[in-house]
Amino acid sequence: MNKLVKLFTIFISAITLTIASISSSFAKVEGEYIVLGSAISLTGKYSSNGVHTQNGYNMAVDRINKMGGVNVGGKSYKFEIIYYDDESNPKRAAQLAERLIKQDGVHYMLGPYSSGLTKAIAPVTEKYKIPMVEANGASRSLFTKGYKYLFAVLSPANQYLEVAIDLAVEKNGGKPVRIAQAFEQDAFSQDVRLGILDAAKRTGSEIIIDDKLPKELNDMAATLAKVKATKPDVLVVSGHTKGALTAIRQISEMKVDVPMLAMTHCDAAKLSKQHGKNSEYALCASQWHKNLSYKDKFFGGGKKYDKDFKKEFGYAPPYQSAESSAALLVFKDAFERANSFDRDKVRDALKTTDMQTFYGNIKFGPGGQNVAKPMILFQVRCKGDSCENKVVAPTKWASDKFYHPIPKWSERS
């Protein structure tokens, strides 16, 4: 027993020493670096979108640092990001935010991927009064909590597919449509659902199927069987990347005929590449598309961003990457206008942001959401075997006509 006590004492003191030795902390601005922190999903169910986000951040950091960095007080600073892996888990994300702020001394945060994780981190950044520019938390409830340090460069989630319902009604000769919908059980997709409910109410449309999909999403055959039986006018599916992939895979396998298919995350899922012709005619909500004519001096326009991104990372940038890059442009702009590293001054500068980036116009509303940028819809169209995303709405940006209704599988070659 005696020895055991000794052993234990040694054990405890070893732990104490370890903690004491690792509690060295970074400063918010270290030498010529402005240190930003971000918890990002590198593993778990959001890992592919987490990587899109990280690539977007990294691309912008490189670009800004190469092109002169951030000028504050007559001195040029460079961006640096500390990343942690939040494992797609809100619990972990909240803990890591705390760690970034308290142990790594980060004073400015970049958002994680997905609304759920942003919801978990926002209370922490709010508590420590840390400005956070986030690019991937679109849930409407993020902007009604009265957060003062949260800024989102993207349009809220409920706006994603509302337009699609309007479009369906328009194609139906202004008459209400019958909607079938299936949404993943997570904060973002459920918000997209709320948007559809609003649109349905507004247009008097009827929702005939309203299914919930599990989080680890890889099967929605039950919903599709119902769709086959009830023949709705529109099928709406949202469940991040996996939702988009599952929907297309099973719709083509089960030969489900539906006049209109509206989804989210088609570009992140690389649908047109992975599923080619099977994904043709899918209508997708997107925050950004390379064909839009927005411009800035760092990335040029959307097409140039697309090209540079492909060169750097080997795939076409989904909007998740573009909006993430934009987040850093916003930070740079705010630092320079604040001309200070004082957190509250930077926050005030962020609040008055009004700028154009290659990704779109950015101006924050009272809740912190971007109010200056509309959502767009694109449709997957194929020529021979190569498929591409063509912008079809709003008309200002449309490069192609919206193809409606989707031909039946029996008529498709």
């Binding site: 027993m1 055991l4 054990f11 009064k129 409830s141």
Partner: protein
């Protein structure tokens, strides 16, 4: 006997003092320390079934998640309409006053301790007749089912998740929240430890051990095994509920499958920690949880993206080299320090036979 008691006293008072000053000493690590307390509570109470009773339960996460939702719901529901709070896109903002916040969490934790205990009794009555793998699989289903069900109940936020009340804004000190949750979790840890220690010295533990070693024999001896199994599980549920309630408040956001009924992480971790330290011992789960937490916090950020691979390797190493856990390994190496007397002659005789 007295001398040992005195040493124990020094050890325990040392640990309590360490626990009390830790949040001030390592101010930046308060949240991690709170997690540590909660993890130890979970591992220690899991050990009551898995270690002492021989019933490997993956279902304790059910009580943890239940406690989390209950605490938050009570805390909100006592003062505001719960449905409006959780309604996403709701335009109204509700703010708890300082008094409301603490009253709410107090009552909430009480409910979070009692209800899961009752639920454990009811479920235990139904499924504790299963043994071995059947029980393990059945409890695994419990956690998953609870997550899916909670994800469909609108009033607690469904798939949107449930944002728990923010810490009262009137308390301006940003450290206060961390300290509050740390001391709360430390209190629960001390309670749980005292309770488990008490059980270790009681007849109840012997009965649990008897059930583990041979349930049929135990029953033949006249022990009403079912009754004891249920009571054992209820004890765990009580502390799991409390732990969940604290974690809900600390994290600030409850998601049905990722935070509350998080069988994939917390549910597995509590088993892993108990096994790592050595199940069936008092200190095993404590040491296991501590080591595991340090491994996780210290190493994981250095191997970004590979941490689950590392965790897998850790599990393999534990199972292959320390099947009885660290305490079991130590016990085998230094049996005399655990009060086991070895007959040297007998040992030598055995070696010669080999």
């Amino acid at each position: 006997m007295n001398a040992i008691k005195q040493k124990d006293l020094i050890l325990y008072s040392g640990l309590i003092i360490l626990g009390l000053v830790a949040p001030f000493l390592f101010s930046a690590f308060k949240v991690q320390l709170t997690y540590l307390c909660v993890l130890i509570v979970l591992a220690m109470t899991w050990n009551l079934q898995g270690g002492e009773m021989g019933y490997n339960s993956f279902g304790n996460i059910l009580f943890y998640g239940l406690g989390m939702y209950l605490t938050a719901s009570v805390q909100v529901g006592m003062f505001f309409p719960l449905a409006e709070w959780t309604e996403s896109g709701g335009e109204k903002t509700f703010v708890h006053t300082t008094a409301q916040y603490f009253q709410g969490i107090g009552v909430g934790l009480l409910v979070a301790a009692i209800v899961p205990t009752i639920v454990a009794g009811a479920i235990g009555y139904a499924i504790l007749g299963l043994r071995g793998h059947y029980f393990a699989i059945c409890t695994l289903g419990l956690g998953i089912a609870a997550g899916e069900i909670a994800g469909g109940i609108e009033i607690i936020g469904a798939g949107q998740g449930f944002t728990t009340p923010p810490f009262p804004a009137e308390i301006v000190d940003p450290e206060a929240r961390g300290q509050f949750f740390y001391f709360l979790s430390f209190l629960v840890l001390v309670l749980a430890f005292v309770f488990v220690k008490y059980i270790y010295g009681s007849r109840f533990r012997l009965i649990l051990n008897a059930i583990r070693d041979n349930e049929d024999k135990a029953e033949a001896m006249g022990i009403q095994t079912m009754k004891y199994k249920i009571v054992g599980w209820m004890c765990s549920a009580f502390f799991c509920g409390l732990a969940g309630g604290i974690m809900g408040g600390l994290i600030g956001y409850i998601d049905s499958t990722d935070v509350a009924f998080d069988g994939r992480e917390m549910g597995v971790f509590m088993v892993l920690m108990a096994i790592l330290g050595g199940k069936g011992t008092l200190w095993g789960p404590v040491i296991g949880a501590t080591l595991f937490h340090f491994f996780k916090e210290g190493l994981w950020t250095f191997i970004l993206g590979w941490q689950y691979v590392a965790l897998g390797v850790l599990i393999v190493v534990i199972v292959v080299y320390f099947p009885e856990g660290l305490m079991g390994w130590l016990r085998e190496k230094y049996p005399d320090r655990f009060g086991e007397v070895i007959d040297e002659k007998d040992r030598k005789a055995q070696v010669e036979i080999k």
